[in-house]
């Protein structure tokens, strides 16, 4: 099934769900350039998918990629995707992000704002925590304010800083005043750290939330067992009786566990493992195209990488297609040296795709005057696939006369000691829910994670302006300009956007891609069912 048909399937299903007639759907497909036979097939599949209604019952075992004594069910302390998957089983947030990263109401039934600065949330009625206590505004206030408490050492402290004041304006209403306008604030609240916990919680040996599952067992570094919350406020959900969730850090072991039936869902697999899974019967690869990438960090404040010609030469040395096939087996989307990916509503498609161009690379390399001096390039398994990228770049660089000296360093301590500290190295950025968050975290001149150390005042201005801009086309243009600036002048090379891959037994159904992460933005627990 090619790209077009696969994409069409999803769109048609969504159309049908929203009530389009078959004629309307067929018409759309014809317009999309599909022949009648193919269109008919798509329609049939879509119909069947709708008929595949969720079945209640069953218990599954899911394995993520990490399991250590650092596992936590404290939303403020989550750092790994396995934490996210676990916490979303037990808690809900005020909002939830959908397939296009648009915030949908969750615990907050209605959201209103005044100039994107004062936000008022009316909480859903009738929601209770697992221990029976009803959800009130006090719980929300506590959950949000604790991120600002230094003793809590919340990972989301920076994001929480924008909340100047959080107060309960009623038993079911919360008002948040921001220090500056932010049209994306509901998006922020839909991220994992802002899940809502009980007022006054300090002990996280277990999880008590409003979420689809109750925490029957939680042993950090071993496993957690989630059992259905019979009083869950979403009718009919969740479908499964129980989810056992643990980690199998070794990827081969994880895949083998899936293929031998020990588990039903393997979270986070690499493109290389897809070979084995596709060859086996009864298993599927679940691809989530998203905005995560491994990037080449060319420090603009260090020798010799601050040389703009060298920076350009390096970007031309990316054989993106070769990397896509050789490293990612096709499970990647071409990148254009700027961080906003095609799945994002603000992706600018007008920027010409930079190609693999040895001539241009040679031209810039010679202009840079580096000559035969070997240039160390630091790579690590910590930044996924960076070592392989470095190998391919080294091979290409040789052809234009540039000697790249690969320095592979262990994953151990990479982020603290090498990332952003060496002139030429790699970073690895996980997808972020909004372009604003992404650009603010990694490209703003004074951001602590401004990987290449570039400083562009025009970019900073645009960033701030776009954040409070509520007129959508204007906003889009601003983001387009920012992407151009990064593409042209930033010391970051982004060859590809890496798709997130999971694998599961064909009996597990209901998974739909959400670009914030694998397994439906890690929030898979309430949506999947077992077709045993």
């Amino acid at each position: 099934m090619d790209e077009l048909t696969r994409g069409a399937d999803g769109i048609i299903r969504a159309m049908l769900r929203r009530g389009a007639t078959r004629r309307q759907a067929l018409g759309w497909l014809g317009g999309a350039g599909m022949g009648l036979a193919t269109a008919g097939g798509v329609l049939m599949r879509a119909g069947q998918a709708l008929a595949d209604a969720p079945k209640r019952g069953g218990s599954i075992r899911v394995a993520g990629f990490s399991s250590s004594t650092a596992d936590t069910v404290d939303p403020a302390r989550q750092t790994l995707s396995t934490d996210y998957s676990r916490c979303t089983m037990f808690y809900n947030g005020l909002t939830r992000l959908d397939e296009s990263l648009t915030p949908q109401p969750e615990l907050a039934e209605t959201i209103t704002d005044d100039k994107a600065t004062v936000w008022t949330f009316k909480l859903r009625q009738g929601v209770t925590f697992h221990d029976g206590k009803p959800l009130t505004s006090a719980d929300v206030v506590y959950s949000l304010l604790r991120h600002k408490d230094p003793k809590v050492a919340s990972i989301a402290k920076t994001l929480a800083a924008q909340m100047q004041e959080v107060k309960a304006t009623g038993p079911n209403e919360v008002q948040v005043t921001l220090s500056a306008p932010n049209a994306d604030f509901p998006v922020v609240l839909g991220t994992f750290h802002f899940l809502i916990i009980k007022d006054g919680s300090t002990d996280f040996t277990t999880a008590i939330g409003t979420g689809p599952y109750e925490c029957k067992e939680f042993t950090p570094g071993v496993r957690s067992i989630a059992v259905r919350n019979e009083q869950y406020w979403k009718p009919g959900k969740p479908y499964l009786d129980q989810i056992e969730f643990f980690g199998i850090p070794d990827e081969t072991a994880r895949v083998n566990a899936l293929l031998s039936g020990d588990i039903q869902v393997a979270g986070g697999i690499s493109a290389r493992a897809t070979r084995q899974i596709k060859a086996a019967e009864g298993f599927e690869v679940f691809e989530t195209k998203s905005g995560g990438y491994t990037d080449l960090v060319i420090r603009q404040d260090a020798e010799p990488t601050k040389n703009p010609d060298l920076t350009m030469a390096l970007k031309y040395l990316f054989d993106r297609e070769q990397m896509r096939t050789a490293i990612f087996r096709g499970y990647a989307v071409l990148g254009n040296d700027q961080p906003v990916d095609p799945s994002n509503r603000f992706w600018c498609k007008d920027i010409p795709q930079r190609a693999f161009d040895l001539d241009k690379a040679k031209f810039h390399f010679q202009k840079s005057g580096i000559g035969t001096t070997p240039l160390p390039i630091v790579a690590s398994p910590a930044a996924s696939s960076s070592v392989e990228m470095a190998v391919l770049m080294q091979d290409a660089a040789q052809k234009v006369g540039l000697t790249l000296d690969i320095k592979r360093v262990p994953a151990d301590g990479y982020w603290a000691n090498s990332w952003m500290k060496v002139p030429l190295g790699f970073g690895n950025i996980n997808p972020r829910p909004s372009a604003d968050i992404l650009l603010s975290l990694f490209f703003k001149s004074d951001a602590p994670w401004n990987e290449s150390g570039w400083k562009n005042p025009q970019f900073d201005q645009l960033l701030l302006a776009a954040r409070s801009e509520t007129d959508l086309p204007k906003r889009k243009q601003m983001y387009c300009d920012m992407q151009s600036l990064v593409h042209d002048g930033c010391g970051i090379g982004i060859p590809l956007f890496i798709s997130i891959l999971d694998a599961h037994s064909s009996k597990v159904k209901g998974l739909r891609p959400i670009p914030t992460g694998g397994l439906m933005g890690y929030n898979f627990a309430e949506s999947i069912w077992l077709d045993a």
């Binding site: 081969t252 290389r272 493992a273 070979r275 084995q276 060859a279 070769q322 096939t325 050789a326 490293i327 790579a379 070592v387 392989e388 470095a390 190998v391 391919l392 080294q394 091979d395 040789q398 000296d405 690969i406 320095k407 592979r408 360093v409 262990p410 151990d412």
Partner: protein
């Protein structure tokens, strides 16, 4: 007379000769690799990866699409060279210290044994990481690390043997004769434990070959695109599912090397055992 090495008869049985041939072959490959390898180690010949054996690529291609024959040939330098040197160092150090400890006995033996016990108890992962962090990642450091990790084991094994022999009459006699420590070590004790010591060397050699891939994963010594054979096996492990040559060939290379070394050891002539009491 004891320790009459000259009276050994150097007739190597056929199977030992076979081992020698294989070892010499790999040594030659290690030396000549840069000239005989058809492609550079990092060159992608076929992005589809894990290709089968073919005329163009006799050992297939690896997971990134690089020629396996070249990678195995170039990897021989590291595997053969570093392993031999590191194992020699480890065994030399271990055996010498063990002989010394056994011959002298007393507090020297106790101190040496306890120091080496402590050394072996520091987890090798921790040790490796500290070495990378403080001494950098050159080939010399790699050899040294491997040697230090395996010397205590060689020491322990050799000491157990030496202590046994040291207790025998002829050694006491030699001491009574007034022979010095080094003489006793070299002429009385060592020749009578040669076979077990060499056997231990053969085993330690295997351990070092396999250790290299673990150490280079920590960033010690070998940088991409070069890789030792153990690392070649590890990085192409996904090919095991369809039996790709990329994962099987380096494993076979390792096995041929280690078996060859041990075949030589097994078939070295020993003088009729411990017939030292002539």
């Amino acid at each position: 007379m004891s320790g009459a090495v000259a009276s050994m008869r150097w007739r190597l049985p056929l199977i030992g000769a076979l081992g020698a041939v294989v070892l010499v072959f790999w040594l030659a490959v290690a030396v000549l690799a840069p000239w005989i390898a058809p492609y550079p180690a990092g060159h992608v010949v076929d992005p589809d990866g894990l290709g089968p054996m073919s005329w163009a690529y006799p050992l297939g291609t690896d997971y990134l699409g690089r020629d396996m024959l070249s990678r195995v040939l170039l990897g021989a330098r590291i595997t053969v060279g570093v392993s031999l040197v590191a194992t020699l160092l480890a065994c030399l150090a271990g055996v010498t210290l063990a002989l010394f400890a056994a011959a002298r006995g007393g507090w020297l033996d106790a101190v040496l044994s306890r120091v080496l016990d402590a050394l072996i108890s520091v987890p090798s992962l921790l040790f490796g990481l500290v070495v990378v962090a403080s001494l950098g990642a050159s080939m010399g450091v790699l050899i040294g690390t491997a040697a230090v990790i395996y010397a205590p084991g060689a020491y322990r094994t050799a000491r157990a043997l030496a202590v046994n022999i040291n207790a025998l009459d002829f050694v006491t006699v030699a001491r009574a004769r007034g022979e010095g420590t080094f003489f006793i070590m070299r002429e009385e004790i060592l020749p009578n434990m040669l076979l077990p010591v060499l056997t231990d060397f053969g085993l330690r050699f295997v351990y070092v070959v396999l250790l290299l891939s673990g150490l280079s994963f920590l960033g010690l010594g070998i940088q991409p695109p070069y890789a030792d054979w153990g690392s070649l096996v590890r990085e192409n492990l996904e090919g095991l599912v369809d039996g790709s040559p990329a994962v099987i060939m380096p494993a076979i290379a390792i096995a041929t090397l280690t078996i060859a070394v041990n075949l030589i050891i097994d078939n070295l002539p020993t003088r009729g055992g411990a017939s030292h009491e002539r």
